[in-house]
């Protein structure tokens, strides 16, 4: 067993931190909360040049050909620095499943553009049913000649406003089930019949509602096989939930660090508040939570990366990390006193995102249920 990073991975981690310290100051994070697009082309291009956007895309499509695990190392840093923009949607989700399920022509058309920063992509699974389970999907795609016609509503779609392509999970067989009833479509943003309405959310991230009214998509734009779309959706959820855990770990680690710095510095009753046992116990509990997050999260990602069965590990990680990160933020606030309750202080940027991250790809209840099923109870 070796729970460390190898040399290349360390290099990736350290350079990511150095770059983001320079390129992603908290002022940018705040500005992007207010920004309609939520990211800057400068930072996006920069990330392309560093090879991050193509990190796990095979070399023949202009990527770095690194693993999902390597991508996770980067995500710990983007989580720590609250990097704004569609990195998760485009790189972690879209490029991964396009690589896995795309046809040769889809891959050679799309992946190089993702890698060089020219194309933003996202995945649309959830609907007003607000669940990641297949029975929540009501959006239909009906065959019409060599086209499919999409009707329905997607909700809570990240980065839909800025995406060039949206990978839409639709129901293609009314009577079908997870094994044959769903299909994923690659939908260009300019296709007529789509209405995208931004949502205001707790994390000020860029989520949207997309209404599809007779949106006609050529069968060439089916991703994977017709009827086999739920496998892809499930893959998105697995990759998404495990990768979110790493992103959250990065954030939680920073919250711990901020809090420890603060309690060493803040003086009340003539001594640093960090010298009070109550606060020491708070910090100790936070450290315990963060440590717990680290290895369950990386374990899940590692199993995926190695191609091993990972359902149980993913759900254990997402259930634990979702709750732990929330606790870490809550104790962080408590230890900061009133200053941490202000908008001006950076802590709230983490707390609000922790909530959104907890909800994404299934919250702790959803994943706890899966763990229970995995246990056979």
């Amino acid at each position: 067993m070796d729970l460390g990073f190898d040399e290349v991975q360390m290099l990736l981690k350290n350079s990511a931190r150095e770059v983001l310290e320079q390129e992603c100051p908290i002022t940018l994070v705040r500005a992007m909360e207010e920004d309609e697009r939520g990211f800057t082309s400068e930072l996006w291009q920069n990330m392309a040049e560093l090879g991050w956007l193509g990190l796990s895309i095979p070399e023949q499509y202009g990527g770095q050909g690194m693993s999902f695990f390597d991508l996770a190392i980067l995500l710990e840093e983007t989580g720590r620095f609250l990097v704004p923009g569609p990195f998760f949607s485009t790189v972690v989700l879209s490029s991964s499943i396009l690589t896995e399920y795309g046809t040769e022509s889809q891959k050679s058309e799309i992946l190089p553009k993702i890698a060089n920063g020219d194309l933003i992509a996202t995945v649309a699974i959830t609907e007003p049913s607000a669940t990641y389970e297949s029975n929540g999907i009501q959006l239909t795609a009906t065959k019409d000649g060599s086209n499919y016609v999409l009707n329905g509503t997607k909700l809570f779609v990240n980065d839909a406003q800025i995406a060039d392509i949206i990978l839409v999970v639709a129901k293609t067989d009314d009577k079908g089930d997870e094994s044959n009833g769903f299909t994923v479509f690659i939908v260009d943003k300019n296709t007529s019949g789509m209405t995208i309405t931004p949502l205001d959310t707790i994390a000020s991230d860029k989520q949207a509602e997309i209404v599809f009214e007779s949106v006609s998509i050529s069968e060439e734009n089916v991703l994977g096989e017709v009827g086999k779309g739920w496998d892809i959706a499930k893959r998105v959820i697995d990759l998404g939930s495990s990768a979110k855990c790493i992103e959250m770990l990065g954030g939680a680690d920073r919250v711990l660090e901020m809090t420890v710095e603060y309690v060493k510095d803040r003086t009340q009753f003539g001594r640093p508040i960090g010298s009070f046992q109550a606060i020491q116990h708070h910090c100790a509990n936070m450290a315990t939570d963060v440590e717990g997050c680290r290895y369950v999260a990386y374990h899940a990602v590692w199993r995926i990366s190695e191609g091993l069965e990972a359902q149980k590990e993913i759900s254990i990680a997402k259930a634990w990390v979702s709750d732990a990160y929330r606790r870490v933020c809550a104790i962080g606030h408590q230890s900061h006193g009133a200053i941490g309750f202000t908008k001006e202080y950076d802590l709230q940027l983490y707390t609000r995102r922790a909530k959104a991250q907890e909800l994404a790809f299934g919250d702790s209840s959803y994943h706890r249920e899966i763990v229970a099923q995995q246990l056979g109870i």
């Binding site: 994390a203 809550a330 009133a338 202000t342 908008k343 919250d363 209840s365």
Partner: protein, 392 residues
């Protein structure tokens, strides 16, 4: 033991309820932060006048000050109903801090001057205690008040001043003796917020609301007749134990309301994704919250009972504050959990359940365990004053 309320108490409770039903808009979900919007504030002022007409602002005041001298339990019930209905109109600083302090320590002139406007709902007070360097360790405060003729000249800054931007007057603690031990050099002054030299800077909280402020004092001149009690005795004046209701019943009432809202919402949306049947963990969690809320309510009733028997609640109040505010956070969190992805929506829209109340409550309640004595300080009090453990 007898857990029943008296007939008068029950009648009174019904009166309050009837009044609130009549006065609050039928779709009233409760302004989350009155001070944050002009509309919210104006409604608060309107309600204040109506409560004053009823005599309910001064429910617990002695008759000689125009109060109703209502029993402690009636006050508990009143506060419980107000909190459950999320009704605005109560200036807690004027009614619950200033008034009792003046009744004990104020001069006749001060009582004449300051009490009637509070009773009539014509004035808003705020509390100028905390400073950037003095939070839990309040007695270390640095704002200076120096005598100059028959005035004090105040310099310094106060922070986290709730409603500072709405208030007419501020209850100020300032240092008048820099050589004395820290608790013995503090003086309480009443300061008109319109006095030249005062400026109020907004501080926006993490829920994006403007409720508290930083207040700056630059050579602010305060007449000596606005000194409360003796000079340098302000710490003790400020700590005057009030014979008003201190049950903390509002915490459980607020939480109960949130739970009732959630339950109503779940029932109104059968076989939706808010349906909890078959989701045992969430049902259990919500049930746990209902249980905790009842525990908190009983702790509060007991505090009310103790007070009505002439005892001064001490560790009980700290137990109530820490348990109940932490519970309120758990309730909000449970609500967020039940709402799932919908819980993250922040503006009222066709998609937003319960008009984003749960999300607002979730963010705002981060401060519940900080304001008016943090959970850690409450536990210190429970351990030392309550259980007799040695101080750190």
């Amino acid at each position: 033991m007898d857990f029943k309320f008296s007939t008068e108490e029950e009648t009174f409770q019904n009166d309050v309820n009837g009044f609130l039903k009549k006065e609050l808009p039928s779709d009233w979900t409760g302004e989350t932060a009155y001070a944050s919007s002009d509309d919210g504030w104006n409604f608060n002022l309107k309600m204040k006048k109506k409560l004053a007409e009823k005599g309910w602002l001064t429910l617990g005041w002695p008759k000689e000050y125009g109060g109703m001298e209502a029993s402690i339990m009636s006050q508990v019930l009143f506060n419980e109903q107000m909190a459950y209905n999320r009704a605005p109109g109560i200036d807690i600083w004027g009614i619950k801090m200033l008034a009792p302090t003046l009744m004990v320590h104020g001069t006749e002139e001060q009582k004449q001057r300051f009490l009637p406007p509070v009773a009539n709902g014509e004035v808003q007070w705020c509390q100028g205690y905390s400073e950037p360097g003095s939070g839990s360790d309040l007695a270390s405060l640095q704002t200076r008040a120096e005598v100059d003729g028959d005035e004090y000249v105040v310099n310094g800054t106060k922070i986290w001043t709730s409603n500072g931007h709405r208030a007419d007057w501020i209850i100020l603690l300032a240092r008048t003796d820099t050589d004395a031990p820290k608790h013995r050099g503090i003086t309480m002054l009443l300061v008109d917020m319109k006095t030249p030299g005062i400026s109020v800077n907004p501080i926006v909280n993490m829920a994006g609301m403007h409720e508290f402020n930083q207040v700056f004092f630059d050579n602010v001149r305060v007449p000596k007749r606005n000194l409360v009690g003796e000079e340098n005795r302000g710490w003790y004046v400020g700590a005057t134990l009030l014979d008003f209701e201190r049950s903390g019943v509002q915490y459980s009432a607020e939480a109960r309301r949130t739970i009732d809202d959630l339950v109503g919402f779940i029932k109104d949306n059968p076989s939706s994704n808010f349906d909890l049947s078959g989701r045992e963990h969430l049902r259990n969690r919500l049930a746990d919250m209902a249980i905790e809320t009842e525990v908190s309510r009983m702790i509060s009733y007991n505090i009310g009972f103790m007070q009505s028997q002439g005892f001064v609640p001490n560790k009980e109040a700290s137990i109530c504050k820490s348990f109940s505010t932490e519970m309120e956070q758990r309730v909000a969190e449970t609500g967020m959990h039940i709402l799932g992805l919908y819980g993250q929506l922040t503006s009222d829209s066709k998609w937003a359940p319960l008009r984003v109340r749960i999300e607002r409550t979730f963010l705002r309640h981060h401060s519940a365990t900080l304001a008016s004595g943090t959970s850690e300080i409450q536990r210190n009090i429970i351990a030392t004053r309550g259980l007799g453990l040695p101080r750190a």
